[in-house]
Symmetry: C2
Subunit: 353 residues, 2 copies
């Protein structure tokens, strides 16, 4: 009686069935069932057949935890991005999810919110055992602090990782980066060709590898054109709410004919502020943004922008990681994949004359 009661409750609660349960059911050993389920040739066709159908009707599903414990692999990768509301990172994440799904990996995603503390905490939680590997882009604060200890700890644990976009020389691993120097160079050159010589450079990510490289490209372009670099035109934006005041000041005290915003939202806000000031874009001021998202596309005038191919970066990074996870046999050199940017000309910049 007790048994029956237990069984029916069991049905309702759908207690997950195990190999042990099936073994008991057939009066065979657990390993026999295991082998049968894994289609081992050791087991007779008849028994296998019976066990399989029973497994199906009982909805047997192998326990993932037990498998992971045994195999020491979880088929899960961890992803840490600074900000998921940023279209570029959303695209990257999309790319990552895509290849992960294709290869039957789960992805645990975490947001650092550009905060060093959150990033470290996240990284701690994400240690080896939870995930087989990590995909990550450094937070701005982390790059400013230059404190990579959390990451290094993981690396020291032997956790494979690939860094993308915001990377660091001090971590040796596979990397996927944008050719940011060239991107900065390209944007500035583009403006110079359109006779813009006084270019305001607004960077919300000044301390990041990405921000620094783009700035260098900018400076190089100026240099090659023989235009002196004016540090006052570089706006290192720590707090987005400062933007308005800064731009107003610049517009009143400097002769400005172009602006570059290093992320999509900043560029669009630049556009808005300039127009509010009554200055026509691109006639008076040309504007270039980064990240080719819907925002750049649909704003008026449509923004000339540097596309970074976020989805492709995500896919590449994920593939690189999975590759390493599965063919750990030849631990070949670390590679750094450089993804070229593309400058998409729209209506926020003047035509060349």
């Amino acid at each position: 009686m007790v048994n029956i009661a237990v069984e029916s409750i069991g049905m309702a609660k759908n207690k997950n069935i195990t190999l042990k349960d099936m073994a008991r059911h057939f009066g065979v050993s657990i390993s026999t069932v295991s082998k049968a389920m894994n289609n081992s040739p050791e087991i007779s066709a008849g028994l296998k057949e019976k066990i399989h159908t029973y497994a199906v009707t009982m909805q047997y599903r192998p326990n993932k935890m037990a498998l992971s414990l045994r195999r020491k692999r979880s088929r899960t990768i961890g992803v840490v991005v600074p900000n998921i509301l940023n279209h570029f990172f959303a695209q990257v994440l999309y790319g990552i999810q895509k290849v992960a799904a294709e290869r039957n990996y789960h992805v645990i995603s975490c947001i650092s919110d550009e905060s060093f503390e959150k990033e470290s905490k996240t990284l701690q939680l994400l240690d080896a055992g939870t995930v087989d590997g990590i995909l990550m882009s450094l937070s701005e604060e982390t790059q400013r602090k230059k404190d990579l200890s959390a990451l290094q700890k993981l690396q020291h644990q032997g956790l494979p990782m690939v860094l993308f976009d915001r990377v660091s020389d001090r971590i040796s691993c596979d990397k996927v980066v944008v050719d940011d120097f060239e991107a900065g160079y390209k944007a500035t050159t583009f403006l110079l060709q359109r006779a813009c010589t006084s270019i305001v450079w607004v960077t919300p990510i000044g301390a990041s590898s990405v921000g620094r490289l783009r700035l260098k490209g900018h400076q190089r372009a100026l240099e090659e054109a023989g235009i002196p670099f004016d540090a006052n035109l570089v706006v290192d934006l720590h707090d987005p709410t400062d933007l308005e005041a800064i731009i107003h000041w610049l517009l009143e005290h400097k002769k400005v004919d172009a602006m570059v915003g290093l992320d999509e939202l900043t560029a669009v806000r630049l556009l808005q502020l300039v127009r509010e000031k009554g200055l026509a874009v691109p006639q008076k001021i040309s504007i270039i943004g980064f990240t080719n998202g819907p925002l750049s596309q649909y704003v008026t005038p449509a923004l000339t922008t540097v596309s970074q191919h976020g989805k492709y970066i995500g896919e590449s990074a994920a593939k690189l990681l999975v590759e390493r996870l599965e063919h750990s046999s030849p631990p070949k050199e670390f590679t750094t994949k450089v993804v070229k940017t593309q400058l998409i000309e729209r209506d926020s910049t003047t035509k060349p004359h």
Copy 2:
């Protein structure tokens, strides 16, 4: 000597240390070490002290898989969203990540891409054992097919879940939804008050619960105003590329004075198409969108829009789930939380007269 050698190799490869290793090191039993690490009062203060410091220097980290296997809980929740490039869902995900991080849960996120097949496959991969519970918003295709078998299977496994935004009556669980009927009603009423009577209704999510409810709200508002409902004005958009042709046709064959786009991107595209046609917004045509994202905010003219508080929805859903996971003791009734929308008036609609 042997020990030293082993130790140094251990350092290099950083083989993760286990309770067993520590037990051997101190010549005590595994269970003693376990108790010490868990601060059991059974263990003498002295030993505990020694073990703790050793654990720290050796960087002991408990094996997550073993713990999960033992506890039958992974502290991981699964999230399935239709589309992460959509700002609304990105916000929801952000909210979810936030509370998950606060409560020390991992989140495995998956994208269904509005596809029934991908959603089912994902759900299968995400079965009990992998995650402790699920947060999910149904894909459009799934809602059209009305095939919830994958979800029901999970439910039958006893996996706690909470559905958000795109939900179904046929699944009984906690839910967090937007008051979509009211949202549709509100949008239409708003337009009617501004003397718009011929309202084009463009829905890329016609088959979803959300799309249907909003349409009902729309119809009710029309009805109350004594305006006959014209089914030709409802555009059930299956393929986004059709939008242009459809709108052109409508603009030429119907007298239209307002349009509503049921997601952010659609509304913005509507705005663009109308303006390309040379029709002033809002003077000739008023436009209302959904989802209050940067796109709606920065487009020209800025879009009047129905805000759905994505982040809040994500937070609520996550909290509901975690609540259930942690106090499974009183299995109280399922709740459905209804989040009110907010109509944000901007410049794409005329002022009331």
